[in-house]
């Protein structure tokens, strides 16, 4: 499967983009709405005009039309042709490429079997659920054995449970087939569960390319740091391992963190995953990772409040809570509070 390189790519949205997606990698492209993620996918697919160069395995793609690039493309909306049933949708690429009918039918059945969708074979898209549509679209993209898979927020319109299931399925299929894949998302959780590496695109420019962990602990600039949520970063020393947890000392406070078999020297804590309460009894049990502190400042946005708390050891932590919660708990600057760090919101690094 090819390595994809973009060299000095610019157009009406993108500005001098240089990117290298490795062979067989699942690369997640992150960025806010309007940052140019979809346009970048379309550049790789050859669907929009651009200046610069796109290379597959070092071979320039300029002048190669989309139908000859061996690409599987899943857009965010309108994923299926509404006038074709499931079998016709999946077999579309084989038909337009003039493959023999019997071979095409065999391939369609093979893909339907692989995705466990044989019972949907003759249904029209209007009679499919959102998850089923996405799986049919994936099967259709895989039907002609693409070497590059371009996925444009394919799961964003689905319910959380289906999203989780399809992420897993998608990742397994991508690994099994070894297809080079560029996956557009604006969801960090999605990026974390799927990516080999991630890239942050903002204002048409690539801000950083690295693993999500590297990005979390060493954001290249404020744009990246703001996008991934300005996490709380603590330096620590972890000496004890307790099963799946590690006991770490952070400036005199003992914090339990998820242990992934690697040394831990830094902890990143998502501000949204820090519980804050004025009474210790309001903190959910057990009393682990619970600390006392004092509110230093409160900054409000349209619906959320960023509450900065100084712990007894002088460490500053930021918690993000709903504005309503902030009011109902009577949180104010100078007030003593208790905080609990949820394991879910922690990432570790060496």
């Amino acid at each position: 499967m090819p390595r994809i390189e973009l060299k000095n790519v610019s157009n009406f949205v993108l500005r001098n983009v240089n990117l290298d997606v490795r062979d067989g990698e699942l690369f997640v492209l992150l960025g806010p709405t309007g940052s140019g993620k979809t346009t970048l996918l379309k550049v790789i697919a050859g669907l929009v005009e651009y200046e610069g160069s796109v290379l597959f395995d070092g071979k320039p793609m300029e002048g190669v039309p989309p139908e000859l690039r061996r690409i599987g493309y899943l857009p965010q909306d309108q994923v299926l042709f509404p006038h074709m049933d499931v079998a016709s949708n999946i077999g579309y690429s084989l038909r337009v490429k003039g493959r023999p009918k019997t071979l095409a039918e065999k391939r369609v059945d093979e893909l339907l079997g692989m995705m466990g969708m044989m019972h949907l074979k003759h249904r029209y898209p209007k009679n499919l659920s959102g998850g089923e549509k996405q799986r049919v679209a994936l099967a259709r993209a895989l039907a002609s054995d693409p070497v590059v898979l371009l996925l444009d927020e394919p799961l964003s319109n689905l319910d959380p449970i289906t999203q989780q299931y399809l992420r897993l399925e998608l990742r397994q299929i991508q690994r099994k087939l070894g297809i080079t894949c560029v996956f557009v998302s604006h969801d960090l959780e999605e990026a974390e569960s799927m990516s080999d590496r991630v890239g942050v695109l903002f204002g048409g420019e690539i801000q950083q390319v690295s693993t999500l962990s590297e990005m979390t602990f060493s954001p290249k600039n404020k744009t990246v740091s703001d996008f991934i949520g300005a996490l709380n970063i603590l330096n620590c020393r972890c000496d004890r391992v307790l099963g799946g947890l590690a006991e770490c000392d952070c400036d005199g406070k003992t914090i339990l963190v998820p242990f992934e078999g690697k040394p831990v020297r830094k902890i990143a804590i998502d501000p949204k995953e820090i519980v804050i309460a004025t009474e210790e009894s309001d903190i959910p049990l057990p009393r682990v990772n619970v600390f006392k502190g004092e509110i230093v400042s409160i900054a409000e946005t349209s619906s959320m409040s960023r509450v900065e708390v100084r712990l007894e050891n002088g460490v500053l932590l930021t918690s993000v809570v709903a504005k309503e919660t902030c009011r109902s708990q009577g949180l104010a600057e100078g007030k003593g509070v208790f905080i609990k760090l949820k394991l879910k919101g922690m990432r570790t690094s060496d």
């Binding site: 697919a45 000859l68 599987g72 899943l74 857009p75 309108q78 074709m84 579309y92």
Partner: protein, 247 residues
């Protein structure tokens, strides 16, 4: 057929019965408001002597030829304009000026340009059919979601295959709407053209009947016109349902 498919019979029967009853009260002179039964007898007599069939066949042939030519031309031009931005930019302003002109409005000009003859009503029906289909086809194609086209291209379809397998099938509902609209309109304009300038056809029979005070024949002609509009519309609706099953 389901019971609801026959639901139209009761109100129509009631209308005809009321018509018959009112006409037979003698409140109006029979030559101005003949009963329905009189119109039926006239229908039989004019069918038997070939007058109705002859005039009807003339009108039907003109509608079919004009409708077919206008639809094909509108479809072709609509496809070009819907698919190609340059063609659309070049022709859209011109057609935008011409489209609002009622088909019958062309009549005086066409009488001077092509004279009174078979070509005249056919040209009028052509014009009446061409513009709606042109508009509906180009709009139908242009409204296909861009992602559908992009996906088809990445799946290996050439531009021509995208047109054939994605754009045209997805534009079909809009094309059929245009066809249904123009089918009824074609009958209306052919009658108008025949009334003004052509000596044969249902329209000409209407004008002749008016001067002879044959209200029964006028009513018969109007009923034929109404039935033909309905038949055309239902036939196209049937065809649309067969072709656009996915909708």
């Amino acid at each position: 057929m389901k019971p609801r498919d026959w639901a139209w019979i009761a109100p129509i029967s009631l209308l005809l019965a009321t018509w018959e009853a009112v006409a037979r009260t003698g409140a109006f002179p029979p030559y101005l408001f003949p009963p329905f039964s009189r119109v039926l007898v006239t229908a039989y007599l004019l069918t038997a002597n070939g007058v109705l069939i002859g005039n009807f066949a003339s009108s039907l042939a003109r509608v079919l030829v004009g409708f077919a030519l206008g639809s094909l031309a509108g479809l072709g031009m609509g496809i070009l304009m819907g698919y190609n931005d340059a063609v659309n930019k070049a022709f859209h302003p011109i057609f935008s000026i011409l489209m609002p002109i009622p088909a019958v409005g062309w009549l005086p000009l066409l009488i001077l340009w092509i004279g009174i003859g078979e070509a005249l009503p056919i040209t009028i029906v052509f014009l009446c059919s061409f513009f709606p289909l042109l508009y509906n086809t180009s709009t139908g194609i242009r409204e296909v979601h861009r992602d559908c086209i992009d996906v088809a291209r990445t799946l290996g379809a050439s531009k021509r295959e995208v047109l054939k397998t994605v754009l045209l099938p997805l534009a079909l509902p809009s094309i059929f709407t245009g066809l249904r609209l123009e089918a009824g309109m074609a009958w209306r304009v052919i009658i108008a053209a025949e009334m003004v300038a052509i000596p044969s056809g249902i329209g000409a029979l209407l004008v002749a009947s008016e001067s002879l005070l044959r209200v029964d024949v006028i009513m018969l002609c109007l009923m034929v016109l109404s039935v033909m509009c309905l038949i055309f519309e239902k036939a196209l609706l049937f065809l649309e349902r067969r072709c656009v099953r996915w909708k």
